[in-house]
Symmetry: C2
Subunit: 367 residues, 2 copies
């Protein structure tokens, strides 16, 4: 039996320092199967990453040779050096698409996640957190190979985040981890552009997209990061033009990078021609949602203090997808996205610190 | 060569999931020795713990059978069950006395810490964070035995924290880890009452206190927790009356527990007779500092929102000890303590999120 299992099946012994003798696909440990007869609003496919977050001054970024605001891939030796040099850290599960489905579940949506960790303490943390957040997660952890991924995130005093990611076990995500029955049961299959980085994940991405469309479901893509767009521009445009993707999430800099223009209007027009619908975030200028000739704009929500921008886009996608899969229309969906984004950037880490459904109710956006 | 080593000597490989082949007492890895010719304002001796913090409703505490507001010791099996049941967590280094010296260093003080982790990924996190915070830490990690300690902290919506602590490797702290030269160089040796829990740590505590006094230095004790006081009341009173301790930190409920009275004035009078000086915190009522017949009261600082009370007392002690060891007098020292406490309770986790020195300067308490 493969599939999605509940938190109780995760053996804590690995985190306690023992040899990790567990595997989440061990049927004897499964006490509850989320997969059976369950429909999902969103199934996300992404890199399974734990974030290691520290404050850093601008000088430190310069000394470490990392480009501010970017996501840079690093190897194990670079990870060791960076961790030794960086300040005291807060450790919180992350991963872009994983953050989005955790946010969706926090709004009350039905969410599932596919991504690869290893049977090691960090993998245990990732699995605990996503399942404890109410997201169905049952991708078998790799028993060997590289360690579970982590991203070393440096947050400068202006709240901007600079990510340095060791992909590790994410490199073991292949087509084999895509379960057709689960994809068929999700209204939207959500894919992160970062999946173009690990060697086999794009095949998994394509398989999931194909299965979703074969079941009459929708496929969404987030462009992830402007540096990622620069690495895979042609592939991303081909996915949109070929109809493999129905809904695109991007921020302004990613969109401009995609079409290699400094003009937002030009980029937005190009996007309109290439994909059915899209939601583009513009930081404090809010978001623009397009579908054919239709345009809906949503203002950003005011915040008191930008603490850590990590996960702003992931949270917007969570709120938007919750509204979208509940049939709420673009304006309401965009408002829920803006609400979620404003929450996560006022705290450390990309995941919500309190239930987003409650925050949306307080804000009068949900009953 | 024993002693204190810098962050660069900590091998990150354990966190990356390899067999932990490093030891912080391996002389070949030591690049910098904090111990040589360095005076410390405060040397703390305490349990070396990593906190695993999650939001929880009151109902969850009831279901788990834990007493709200307490620190309960749990074994490995209980830790596994609790972690499986609790929500998504934030992982931040903790440990009461460790938090205090991290806070002291954040004010700009010279701090050292003695405490025992194991050579495992969680121990690596603890060691990284305390050294990255500027605290000299060189206690050799245990190569075998129980895993590095962690405390599963449940934060209820009112901001109160309930701690469930697996002591693990802290049980390996013995007299052997107390380096006489380091104790002799610290103005104050700060000891946590929680050290009465692991079997050999009280001997280490007594050895450190004796060495400090033999060098004409001072010894401070925090009573830690009212439940801890109930376990070790007679020993704590004997330490004070026997002159093994010069300065006591307590909160109101610990003080009342110590003297088994519901009346604060009665307890404060008893304390005045038993110890040279003491700082007693009273949450939103501020703090009272006593020395002989002298009494100094310091108001609490207003806060916007109580997010997580974890570490409030530890932070107060950090600010107070910074002022005290700089010769600032009780009022200023108490104000620095109140400032530090107000900062840490408005965020998740017990350690400062930004430099306390800067916050104190903004508040006009330091130049």
């Amino acid at each position: 039996m493969s599939g999605f299992v509940a938190a109780a099946t995760l053996d804590f012994s690995a985190l306690l320092g023992h040899s990790p003798a567990w595997a989440v696909d061990d049927a004897s440990r499964a006490t509850k199967d989320f997969q059976m007869d369950r429909e999902f609003d969103v199934l996300a496919l992404g890199n399974a990453i734990v974030d290691v977050i520290a404050r850093a001054e601008e000088d430190f970024l310069v000394a470490q040779g990392v480009a501010k605001g970017s996501m840079t891939l690093i190897d194990e030796a670079q990870a060791e050096r960076l961790y030794a040099a960086m300040g005291p850290a807060t450790i919180i599960s992350g991963g872009s698409a994983a953050n989005t489905v955790v946010g969706l579940a926090s709004f009350g949506g039905a969410a599932a996640f596919i991504g690869r960790v290893k049977t090691d303490p960090v993998g245990d943390v990732f699995a605990h957190d996503i399942v404890a957040s109410g997201v169905a997660f049952g991708t078998p952890a790799a028993l060997d190979g590289p360690a579970t991924a982590r991203s070393f995130i440096l947050v400068t005093p202006d709240g901007e985040r600079t990510m340095n990611t060791y992909l590790g076990a994410c490199q073991n995500l292949t087509e084999a981890e895509i379960d057709p029955a689960t994809v068929a049961k999700a209204k939207v299959t959500y894919l992160e552009g970062y999946l173009w980085d690990p060697p086999h994940a794009k095949a998994a991405f394509r398989k999931a997209a194909k299965l979703a469309h074969a079941s009459g479901r929708e496929v969404a893509l987030t462009l992830s990061d402007s540096f990622c767009v620069n690495r895979y521009r042609d592939e991303f445009i081909a996915l949109m033009r070929g109809g493999e993707v129905d809904l695109v999430f991007a921020n302004e800099s990613e969109l401009k990078a995609l079409y290699e223009t400094g003009d937002f209007g030009t980029a937005l027009s190009a996007l309109r021609n290439d994909v059915k619908r899209a939601a583009v975030t513009r930081s404090e200028q809010g978001a623009v949602i397009i579908e054919g000739n239709r345009t809906v704009t949503v203002p950003a929500r005011p915040i008191e203090q930008l603490v850590d921008a990590t996960g702003a886009g992931d949270a917007f996608a969570a709120g938007f997808l919750f509204g979208y899969t509940q049939g709420m229309g673009f304006e309401k969906a965009g408002q829920l996205g803006a609400l979620a984004a404003s929450h996560v950037i006022q705290k450390i880490g990309a995941r919500p610190a309190e239930p987003l459904r409650g925050l949306a109710q307080q804000a009068g956006l949900l009953a």
